[in-house]
Subunit: 144 residues, 2 copies
DNA sequence: ATACTTCTTGACTAACTAAGTCATAATTGT
DNA sequence: ACAATTATGACTTAGTTAGTCAAGAAGTAT
């Protein structure tokens, strides 16, 4: 049930990029310094977010990264899924990356108690993270 | 955000022990066979649950494991915490194993957006798992 | 008492993942 | 041309996961 450092750093980087959105582009070292993230590790993360279509970048002097979408159109769920994989605690309840459990002694899906309870956990997590946008996140709104 | 095999197996073993509760004691190989769990790995898990005070065991012929508490007095939260550690996605929002974030650039707890959102996620997960008892679990009740 | 079955302990391993580092290449502004 | 910056991929180090294995201690029926 853990969030990796990768995702945590990714979220913190996006916090900076959201604050800068529309005005300036940020460079690796700006983000790294402000959020205390190891710069080379940050690079990997930004690259992954770029490949996922959330960011764009420019090389060379005056280069840097910036958001390619509106902060209100990016959810934390998307971010965490691209950096950490599926939100579901177990493959057989994932909606974005379903995997049949190979060894489950319960033949039918509906009857497996583990699946049932983990399904509700997945829904709770996704219910929060898929409705929490970067805009909410950066403004520190509650969304209890 | 993942549930380990250890916890999954632990839950499945407890499913069997709950079904047998009050009538018979189960032996390792019974549980292992019914739930397709590697027997030596299962042993480790049962031992951990025993140390946590959920089970008791008897040696010798006719020995085996059985629940030491009522199924309605054991929550899935307890089980998963003993096998996998804290439910919280990040140490700084754990209630059972709080850990200050060393590198967080936000001085005060309340202002860190990561902490805020992960706090709500933790509450959602714990809200489900700490209210879901073995009794609910074995009977397949919903608890949506 | 003995044999049998069981639990108990601890060490061990192979594979994977997390978290980061490093070197080098490619691009851009001046 | 040159300096600043991103891009890419290989590499490392430590820890975790998911087991396996061997030997021992202990209870029970006979």
């Amino acid at each position: 049930m853990k969030l990796s450092k990768k995702s945590e750093y990714g979220l913190r980087a996006l916090l900076e990029l959201t604050a800068a959105h529309g005005t300036v582009t940020l460079q690796r070292h700006d983000i790294a310094a402000r959020q205390h993230i190891p710069i080379e590790f940050l690079e990997q993360i930004l690259l992954a977010l770029k490949r996922a279509g959330l960011l764009t970048s420019r090389r060379g002097i005056k280069g840097g990264y910036r958001l390619i979408k509106q902060p209100r159109d990016i959810t934390l769920g998307q971010v965490i899924r691209t950096l950490d994989g599926p939100l579901a605690p177990i493959g057989c309840v994932s909606k974005t990356a379903y995997q049949k459990c190979s060894e489950c002694p319960y033949a039918t899906r509906a009857r497996c108690p583990v699946q049932q309870v983990m399904g509700t956990v997945r829904d709770a997590i996704a219910g929060i993270l898929d409705h929490y946008t970067l805009e909410d996140f950066a403004s520190g709104s509650r969304k209890a």
